[in-house]
């Protein structure tokens, strides 16, 4: 949870009850939505939250491999990708593949059961026509993208996704009428193809055909009934098209699914204000302000409240919200700056990079993994900040058992997200895997240098030493720091284990007593304490405190309790 920005959440992060789960990275694996295509045309920016959504099946497997599903368990680091861990951590095999199946049904992707790409169909595949080096002129970047989109379609003429990518490329960089035709052709083959519906909706909106746009968004929402975002898009489109009552109904439906969705609340509030129901508008806008799923622009909600309270005659509230608005609307200066700093080449490279990641997924689904890899590498060259391509490349490297390549990509990811522990942790794991313990250790210590109070990093580092060099007790200092920051029974149990492994029985007893005090119902702790105090004798040749599953070397004086952090 430390690595996520909770303000950047969309409906895909919601539990079925509409609540917003922000906590466990482990939970994210099973929350990945059904990706019906590789990308979200508009939302698909390269922030880490939407990586799984963007990457679709690549992401599905990748997030598990990279430890999104295992941050509560250090031991995942010592396992090869795709291998079920002794601790039962979520690995690609355990990922709920219903999303993948949905994708498959809709988009004709070709995936193995564990969400990883199938073997290439043709090892001598015709690679996409990329320029030898990444183009430095906007027009060249666009031309290359068009060539690749055509190549993708020529390579996989029966793939609707390949066609869709061609349509999207035309829409973004070429002839919008061609895009429209392709999308319509796709719909003839599959009337429920969501991305074609959404593409046509976007095109109609851009052309000012607002009623037509509503029709497409309506169908998209119908075929994606679980999506709150789709309903909001539809509601906003209906509002623009002056279908206020219909928009209200759609947004109310969205709020039934996700009652605490700030975007839906604020959109509904705006409609109510347009209909001069200022009491109701005020209520919705106030709720939006306090919603768990925060809307994008709080300033605008305060502005809406200024208008609503103005009409309701509540001068105090008007003043309050005006002050809030003024404070928050300093964003206009930021927008100004952004406008000034707009770099067309960088923007195109970013957009094309996003397309390439999506196209890579389509190639991959067709079994053309070399083409996919080539596009991902090109993306990494064009967009130095693209997370998606690097995560995918790291995953490919791992799946091809090229740990040093994986480390390289993960290293770049670590630089892009220096506050995320996921990447140093995975890098460390890989170094350990290849036997370079020194680098594995350094990776963890470097992170801790910059994040001395990162609890997961402290726990992981403590476990690192405990697993690899238990007798030296080097993990002690990290476990002690962890205990200070997070005085839980798990932390104390970990500290006790480390002391025990280092032969410091008295310290182990003290720590275990604390664990027992904090979790008196935990029989394992009580038993371990008895072992430590000599009240009972551990079974022969069994460590006092068992090594955490997956650790390679654990010491101790014997015992049978399972007091590892992984027990949480």
């Amino acid at each position: 949870m430390n690595d996520r920005d909770s303000s950047q959440i969309d409906d895909n992060d919601q539990a079925p009850d509409g609540s917003n789960k922000e906590a466990g990275e482990a939970e994210r694996v099973v929350e990945i939505p059904a990706p019906v295509s590789a990308a979200e045309p508009v939302e698909g920016r390269s922030d880490s939250n939407i990586v799984p959504k963007l990457l679709g099946v690549i992401g599905l497997a990748l997030v598990a491999v990279l430890g999104y599903g295992s941050t509560n368990n250090w031991f995942g680091l010592f396992e090869a990708p795709g291998v079920e861990s002794a601790s039962g951590e979520t690995t690609p095999k355990d990922v709920d593949n219903s999303d993948v199946e949905n994708a498959d049904a809709n988009t004709q992707t070709n995936l193995s059961s564990n969400g990883t790409p199938s073997e290439p169909q043709d090892t001598s595949e015709d690679l996409p026509p990329l320029d030898p080096i990444a183009a430095s002129l906007s027009a060249e970047v666009i031309e290359e993208c068009k060539r690749v989109a055509n190549h993708l379609y020529a390579t996989m003429p029966n793939s609707l996704e390949a066609r869709e990518m061609l349509a999207r490329t035309e829409y973004e960089f070429g002839d919008t009428s061609k895009a429209e035709k392709i999308w319509n052709d796709i719909l003839k083959l599959n009337p429920q193809f969501l991305y074609a519906l959404r593409g046509l909706g976007d095109l109609a909106t851009a052309e000012g055909k607002l009623t037509e746009a509503v029709g497409y968004y309506q169908q998209a929402a119908k075929y994606e009934p679980q999506s709150v975002t789709r309903k909001i898009t539809l509601g906003v489109a209906m509002t623009q098209a002056a279908q206020l009552d219909e928009a209200k109904a759609v947004l109310e439906e969205a709020l039934k699914q996700s009652p605490d969705h700030g975007g839906a609340l604020s959109a509904l509030g705006q409609i109510l204000a347009l209909q001069r129901d200022f009491d109701a508008a005020k209520e919705k806008l106030e709720s939006a302000l306090n919603a768990k799923i925060r809307p994008d622009n709080l300033a605008k909600i305060h502005l809406g409240l200024v208008q609503a309270y103005q009409r309701l005659g509540d001068k105090e509230k008007v003043k309050f919200h005006q002050a809030e608005y003024k404070q928050l609307s300093t964003g206009s200066a930021t927008a100004n700056q952004e406008t000034k700093e707009y770099d067309d080449l960088a923007a195109i490279r970013e957009d094309v990079g996003r397309f390439y990641v999506d196209m890579a997924r389509v190639y991959l689904a067709g079994g053309f993994s070399n083409s996919a890899t080539a596009l991902l590498i090109r993306t990494s060259q064009m967009d130095k900040s693209d997370m998606d391509c690097r995560q995918a490349l790291a995953f490919f490297s791992l799946s091809q058992e090229k740990p040093y390549d994986a480390i390289r990509w993960l290293g770049e990811l670590r630089q892009l997200q220096p506050d995320s522990f996921s990447f140093p942790k995975e890098i460390s794991r890989l170094y350990v895997q290849v036997g370079d313990l020194e680098k594995g250790e350094k990776e963890l210590l470097d992170f801790l240098k910059d994040h001395p109070e990162h609890q997961l990093a402290l726990r992981t580092t403590a476990m690192y030493y405990y697993s690899l060099v238990p007798a030296e007790g080097e993990g002690t200092q990290y476990a002690e720091r962890l205990v200070k920051l997070q005085a839980t029974h798990e932390s104390y149990a970990l500290l006790a284990s480390i002391h025990d492994a280092a032969g410091k029985n008295a310290e182990a007893i003290t720590a275990m007593e604390k664990a027992v005090e904090l979790a008196p119902e935990n029989e394992k702790y009580a038993q371990a304490l008895k072992v430590l105090t000599g009240e009972i004798t551990p079974p022969p040749k069994t460590p006092n405190i068992p090594p955490p599953p997956g650790s390679t070397n654990a010491g101790g004086t014997g015992g049978t309790i399972g007091n590892t952090p992984g027990d949480r």
Binding site: L137, G174, A206, S332
Partner: protein
């Protein structure tokens, strides 16, 4: 004064209670409209027709924007004009503003602003050189009014560089008045409006400014193509308020008046008494940021209230690329509503005036913005094109980017729009049913609407970027009656600017205010035009002169243009 039974039974009451209960007027008006066949008639068809008479008009003005492929933003925003009767011959003349050569451009002859004299029957002659209005500055906005109260309309022009005031000498020529305050420095100007901020009888000037242009700020690039960068790339500058002391001298009183509290990227301006307190307020359509609504305290001191009033942003709280603006009472409730045009992917917006202080976005409710989402809208004017008693809407369109058609949904050349008002209850887009006047598809900018052939119907002239302007003759298919009124102030400013007129006929009452400078940085409508449908008599005309003094004229003949002189109960009809 002749007093008809009808006048006593309704119209006179209207006049007495108007300020206190405009809703009553609205009710009567709407009832009248309900009973009229107008709504049914317009269910499918429209009587509004405009005929393209560009060729006949033979106006040789070609708009130049100074473009050379460098994409300096100022190119994209030029193209405004004024319609006014400069020589008092009873025909409305046209004054076109032109751009000028920018760095990298050269023209065989310097582009000039051009005055075209209306010689009748949609024929015009270029009198720019003789008049002295053939300025070669890069001109952007224009406002017309009789600042020296000599009976002849003067001209104020905003430029990229110093603004200029031209005094009308009354003999067909104009004199450039050189006063430092009038220049407003070296800004890139925008809309301008003349108004009498303190009702001292002398017209003052509000001059909006767009930005501080700088050649050093490069054009933007989009999708590998050079395009115009937005205004936010340039420093915003202060608008100016210039006070006329009555002796022909102007002083910049921006700070004392309070308008230096805010600055944004200004475009169109319009002044009117929005809050019904008898003085003139100022609305400024700002580009890509919040609009201004400067409320006058009656002494010429202003407070910016757009945020509270609900006209700063659209209903979602988003700033619009606000361009042109006009004012009229679109729903006959006795309050002046605001209509503004906007950039692409934004709807032109109708802000309905809710009894003076608050406005509400009624765009969707009334359907007036429908279809405006795609094009960039510039000029706009609210006028009764079919003389049926309500104000219709004209919008001119055209994208700023001339090189994106093949890769984008943006279209440089677009159709202009006409919306017909159905008794204040609904607007319908009649563009495609209203004759060939909207057939020329160009990249239009400013527009004006005035009765150019004195047939009682509002004609339209549209400036097209880099091209000849389009002249649209109103050939509407009905014989609805009308009345035109020109005000002459004697105590108040002579142009009557800021004075309001309510016309009462059997249908109900209609309100208009004399304004200077509106639409997209343009000027039109110095003579007020009211359609009265099939009514054969104008029961009463109430003039509320700026400051509040009222005068009532009764039983004016329809289909006549009257001059109403402050303090003189005898209306003077003009042929």
């Amino acid at each position: 004064m002749t007093k008809s039974p009808f006048l006593y039974s309704s119209a006179a009451i209207h006049l007495v209670v108007r300020r206190n209960s405009r809703a009553l007027l609205a009710g009567v008006f709407l009832l009248g409209m309900w009973l009229s066949p107008v709504l049914q008639v317009h269910a499918q068809e429209t009587e509004i027709r405009f005929e393209d008479v560009t060729e006949q008009a033979n106006i040789d003005f070609i708009h130049r924007d100074g473009s050379s492929g460098k994409y300096y933003l100022v190119e994209a925003i030029s193209g405004s004009l004024a319609s006014f009767d400069y020589d008092r011959d009873g025909r409305v003349d046209l004054y076109f503003l032109n751009g000028a050569a920018l760095k990298g451009t050269s023209y065989p002859q310097a582009p000039l602003n051009q005055l075209h004299r209306n010689i009748g029957n949609f024929q015009f002659e270029n009198v720019a050189e003789f008049s002295g209005l053939d300025d070669d500055a890069f001109s952007l906005g224009v406002s017309i009014g009789d600042y020296d109260n000599d009976g002849f309309q003067d001209v104020y022009v905003t430029n990229m560089g110093p603004n200029v005031l031209f005094r009308n000498n009354g003999d067909g020529t104009f004199l450039h008045i050189e006063q430092k305050p009038l220049a407003c420095g070296e800004k890139t100007g925008a809309g301008a409006s003349m108004l009498d901020i303190d009702n001292d009888g002398n017209l003052d000037i509000y001059a909006a400014s767009y930005m501080k242009f700088d050649y050093a700020i490069p054009a933007s690039e989009f999708r590998g193509r050079l395009v115009y960068g937005g205004p936010l790339l340039y420093p915003k500058v202060q608008d100016d308020l210039l006070r006329n002391d009555g002796s022909g001298n102007f002083a910049n009183i921006s700070e004392a008046a309070g308008i230096t509290m805010e600055k944004e990227w200004g475009m169109g301006t319009v002044c009117a008494d929005f809050d019904g307190d008898g003085d003139t307020d100022i609305f400024v359509a700002n580009d890509s940021t919040k609009n201004f609504l400067w409320i006058n305290d009656g002494t010429g001191k202003f407070t910016e209230t757009a945020l509270f009033a609900g006209v700063a942003f659209d209903f979602q709280g988003d700033p619009q690329g606000s361009m042109g603006v006009d004012v009229a009472d679109l729903n006959a409730d006795g309050w002046l509503d605001l209509f503004q045009t906007a950039y692409t992917t934004q709807l032109a917006t109708l802000y309905r005036n809710d009894e003076g202080f608050l406005f509400e976005d009624a765009t969707r409710e009334l359907g007036v913005g429908k279809g405006t989402f795609h094009p960039v809208n510039w000029g706009t004017g609210l006028g009764d094109f079919d003389n049926d008693g309500d104000k219709d809407v004209f919008i001119s369109n055209g994208h700023i980017h001339d090189n994106m058609d093949d890769v984008n949904t943006a279209k440089y050349k677009c159709k202009n729009f006409i919306f017909e008002n159905l008794a204040g209850k609904r607007f319908i887009d009649i563009t495609d049913k209203a004759g060939n006047g909207t057939e020329p598809i160009e990249s239009s900018r400013g527009s004006v609407q005035d009765d150019l052939d004195n047939d009682g119907k509002l004609d339209i002239v549209v400036v097209n970027s880099r091209l000849q302007s389009t002249v649209m003759r109103n050939a509407s298919l009905n014989s609805n009656n009308w009345i035109k009124l020109e005000l002459i102030g004697t105590k108040t400013n002579r142009s009557g600017i800021g004075s309001q007129v309510t016309v009462v006929s059997k249908q109900g009452s209609q309100l208009l205010e004399v304004q200077s400078g509106k639409g997209y940085q343009s000027h039109f409508g110095s003579i007020l035009q009211f359609g009265i449908g099939s009514d054969t008599q104008v029961e009463a005309v109430e003039v509320r002169w700026l400051g509040g003094e009222k005068q009532v004229f009764e039983n004016l003949k329809p289909n006549t243009c009257y001059i109403l002189r402050e303090g003189d109960q005898t209306p003077f009809s003009v042929k």
